[in-house]
Symmetry: C2
Amino acid sequence: MTAELTGGDLSRLRQLNALAVIRALREEEALTLTELARRTKLSRASAEDVVRELMELGWVAEAGATAGSVGRPARRYRFRAEAGRVLGVDIGGHKIRARVADLDGEVLHGAEVAVTPEMGRKERLAAVDEAVAEALRGAGVTPAEVWASGVATTGLVDGAGRVMLSEALPEWTGVDVAGHVGRLVNGPVRVENDAKVAALAECWRGVARYARNVVYLLAGLRTGAGLIIDGRLHRGFGNAAGEIGALPAAGWIRAQEHLKSWPATGPGAVEDIFLAARGGDRKAAGIVRRYVRDIALGASALVLTLDPELVVLGGGFSRSADLIAEPLRRELDRWCIRTPEVRVSAFGDEGVVLGAVRLALDHVEGVLHGGAELTSPDRFAAGQRPVT
Amino acid sequence: MTAELTGGDLSRLRQLNALAVIRALREEEALTLTELARRTKLSRASAEDVVRELMELGWVAEAGATAGSVGRPARRYRFRAEAGRVLGVDIGGHKIRARVADLDGEVLHGAEVAVTPEMGRKERLAAVDEAVAEALRGAGVTPAEVWASGVATTGLVDGAGRVMLSEALPEWTGVDVAGHVGRLVNGPVRVENDAKVAALAECWRGVARYARNVVYLLAGLRTGAGLIIDGRLHRGFGNAAGEIGALPAAGWIRAQEHLKSWPATGPGAVEDIFLAARGGDRKAAGIVRRYVRDIALGASALVLTLDPELVVLGGGFSRSADLIAEPLRRELDRWCIRTPEVRVSAFGDEGVVLGAVRLALDHVEGVLHGGAELTSPDRFAAGQRPVT
């Protein structure tokens, strides 16, 4: 069946061409019209038309010319990452982190607010409010200018952005995180478990960039895992994948107990153990050894189940990888049939909030790649209503 | 860029149309030309042309007319599943099973040869030869008429169909299974671990037909697992996924030890335990209880990792599901955050060889869906050379 193109179809075609150009520009720093035409399979003349229109709308800008070419250098165009803003939030037991980033995920400003695991729901949410307000203020961004938000939280999260279960934080089970953050800023809010989100960050711009099957270990005051299978975050049927820690035989519950056997208490206590172990303290070294042995047990269960290409050691304790990484490799080698490569995250405890930013960008890209109606960036953002 | 269609393109187009018709017919028992045209998006006239050609080649036959319709019933056409033959083989510790099936996977004839776990490589391969020869003879099929073979074996298998590691069978590590079966019959040979292949069978025509995320437990004289993630068999980076049994803390090694504490020995010993447990024998009931408890530990590790929709209890012991399924459910519920549904395989120890047949059909379908050049079925089969 063929039909004549109607006026509506033509405008639809222009939209699709515009989205194709935006996608091509998002993948590179800058492109000439010739390069753009080749990548989008548009004619050069069409590419020029589309670029002109996108510049008028505010999605595209001229980039600096390439140096070193003979004759008049060709003009290059870039995606205006500054056209929009996203928010990433990490709600942890000890700290709330908020980051405001551009559409490339470059962080403009960040804010931290200290909390305690013992805090109730109200206080923790107030700390979220404070961190978000401070991050926006520092970035010079109003709540209305936010396009989308990603939020990472401890515990299991349902599809509507509500905490299904939190063992670690009191009064946190049942909190409507998406609803709460949605009242602070414009745009939809995606909420996900912290370890899952940190795995996303590693695949985005971390040590797992080129891997398709990854077990990410969040090693910190709690232990968690995020799984990347065939290049995609594996959430599970009920969004509860990676929860091997719930099985006592997997050792993760015990691993945290070892850390509590150190005399010092408070947020810095574990740093204290690592410091002492580095200094040759035998008790501290023993605690670290037992901690790694028990973390490795659950990690081996994940590895034996999935046979990944790569294990990423992330979370706050990954800053002490000098004490952890080698014994972890040895323990994995002891239990696994095929021991995967182990890499240490370069993000430390920044990985979770970076992953939250990525979650927000995933939403924006989903809308762009899904063939959104393209207006100006401002009108596009206003069209992104909170998910209710 | 546009170009005129050349003679070669036209013939290519006819090929694609023919493959589209074959695919549509493979999904249904029989279709009228009108139904075929609708499904393939061909005109009715083109569909008629293609069907006529496919009937001449031998891929399609006329089916019986639909009953009960008013007026002259429309002619219906069906895929000729009898146009080709595939072979499935299950190489186990205690039995070799071979099945010859048509292109719908309907088994024409099967053969079994008893073996022992202690047998060496040569004896086991001779038993494979015997089972394959007997299955072919019974089905009235010559080795040259086989299009493709699927082989399931205990142990880990590499991409070339060689056993990388077998803990259970002596001299089995390193055996070139694909090479050996490839010398018995025509066509390529795919080899895969038995539990993985049995999971395929459940998703094909078993209790996991409508599930996309499945943990399959092979419960028998050995314990294994096959994982279906997002509707596809998860093999792992090094084809070693699902090997949770290697971790002592996961309980599967211990589970088999409990069975050995029963006084009777030999192939029927475990049946003996189940019989005695049904009869009220307390020692037998205790063995079954401890067996299930330890199987459930590793199964819980798989479930907590993947959060599947469904757990399938398969393998030879699934015939004793009356004793196993309920306690398994209870134990999973004890450890898992979200306990998935547990279903019992209807295949018993037939699941593995059925999965092997499916593996062979996967190859045939891969070639058909991949846009093979369509000649007569006989010439198609002759073109399927062994993978070397």
